[in-house]
Amino acid sequence: MRRETQNILLVLLGGALLKLALTGTYLRYVKESLQPWLVVTGATMVVLAVVAIVRDLRGGQEHHGGHEHGSSRSPWMLILPVFAVFLISPPALGADTVNRSDRNAAQEANASNGFAALPSDEVVPLSIGEFVTRTAWDDSGSLNDRTVKLTGFVVRKDGDVFVARLTISCCAADASPVKAKMVGQDFAALPTDQWVEATGRVVPGSATKDTAFVPTFTVSQVVPIATPEDTYEG
């Protein structure tokens, strides 16, 4: 591959990273904390390519021994992420990923740390991860008879309807699902992957080994909402 082509690819790839980082779309793929690193990385790539381009323009035909590539074609692969980011812009993971696994990632998470008291508000907003952890591991039954609000997307499997989120610890490749089974209403009108706020109460003792620690959630009200910017739970 020619040196000029390599430099153009580097500029495009650096530009793709900058685009992701500056428009906020990076949140579909990685955690928020990576943003400054993406900016630095994208900028570094562009600078390295521009320095090489400027030197080539100034230096004319002067070449560096030991830097020639011969027949190496591997740099062409760099075009794939560029295309993926600019043309396809893949969405955040959703129902398809949740249905690839039966595990419910929140189990055991903070089991040994004890549970803080819930706020005394009438409706308590909870992350699905905490909701699952509390129903599965909090023996004091702190959620029983409490009305909670969960935010997540709709997932269907084997005739059941779930409200789910994915948790990531580094990037979308390590995503693990957390979910609760919704009952008490007709959810047929909600398309799969639709984001909702579901208000209701847990069925006490429903998250056991037999249900793979997926709690049952009796929903009194479910409202479709717009997809949030960061779809993952931390």
């Binding site: 430099n7 830097h67 992420p81 893949p90 690839r100 610890s169 990037c171 490749a173 390590d174 793979a212």
Partner: protein
């Protein structure tokens, strides 16, 4: 021209990718690339800095003369590179080009991604109920790296390594050090970047093709669990800073197979094999990766026997 074609094809592409499996795979692919590129850039910048500012003679003086002694030194030196495996491939290739014996550079390659403080802290955070996981992982990974270094000293042949990986840079030929720095970093980035993307393609494919349900059926069968988790570590190609959280979420399994997962992953995975084939040649990767796989499992079991 290429871009015009791409724009014309965009609608068609987006349509094809509207299948859930492909959509998931493309998201995972971009995620792997986006997550790994900062570390790869860190690695090529270090590699450029070594080429430009550290004379080969200084490196040789810093290491013990006997390779057998230099190998463990290189393993412990891995603590100082706070990144994941993508950063360590260009750095160790640069070390080889600066005249560091291959066995020593390869030990550094294997140790750096697994024994640095960031990885150890994230392991501790992921396993709050099993603090011994941290020393077990540290020892298992270090043992893997050192044993592989010694094996290479004893059995390795330098002709397995592609000639381009061993070619010395010409000593200071009058070009400014900053030019050497920028040129080396750019060259390594273009070179390794392509292979990283290739590894990302494989990781994304396996991510959607390997049925996660395997894990739930393993239960108490420890031997089977060790085999399956070591293979999973290879095909999933998780970043060494994230794999502890994935291992922690497999709570149906005993700790030992999960330790194997954590020791094998940073040493051998599809992304790393692609990077190694790019940096050191196919005939190197075809020998080094399987040997590392076996040594890593054995080291993890040994460390597990002591600590868990």
């Amino acid at each position: 021209m290429l871009l015009v074609l791409a724009l014309v094809l965009q609608d068609w592409l987006v349509g094809v990718l509207n299948v859930p499996v492909l959509r998931t795979a493309s998201t995972v692919f971009v995620a792997v690339c986006v997550q790994a590129l900062p570390f790869l850039v860190l690695g090529v910048l270090i590699s450029g800095a070594i080429a430009a500012f550290i004379p080969a003679s200084a490196l040789r003086r810093a290491l013990p003369k006997k390779t057998a002694l230099a190998v463990p030194v290189a393993g412990v030196a891995g603590v100082a590179l706070p990144g994941c495996e993508c950063a360590s491939v260009p750095v160790s290739r640069r070390l080889m080009q600066q005249g560091v014996p291959p066995a020593v550079a390869l030990t550094f390659l294997l140790a750096a991604p697994a024994v640095n403080p960031i990885v150890l802290v994230s392991t501790a955070v992921a396993f709050p109920n099993a603090p011994m996981m941290v020393p077990a992982r540290f020892v298992g990974a270090l043992l893997t790296a050192v044993v592989m270094g010694w094996l290479w000293t004893r059995f390795g042949k330098s002709e397995w390594i592609a000639e381009r990986a061993l070619r010395r840079l010409p000593d200071n030929d009058g070009t400014s050090r900053w030019v050497v720095f920028a040129e080396t970093a750019r060259h390594d980035l273009v070179d390794a970047g392509g292979f990283l993307v290739l590894g990302g393609v494989f990781a994304a494919a396996f991510n959607v093709l390997v049925p996660q349900a395997w894990l739930e059926t393993l239960g108490g069968q420890v031997v089977l669990a060790i085999v399956v988790l070591s293979l999973l570590a290879v095909v999933l190609a998780l970043c060494s800073e994230a794999d502890a959280f994935v291992a922690a979420s497999m709570s149906a399994l005993p700790l030992l197979p999960r330790l194997v997962f954590l020791v094998v992953g940073p040493a051998v995975d599809v992304k790393l094999i692609a990077l190694q084939a790019g940096a050191f040649g196919k005939s190197f990767a075809a020998r080094f990766a399987p040997a590392t796989f076996v040594v890593a499992i054995a080291s993890a079991l040994a460390a597990g026997a002591v600590f868990l």
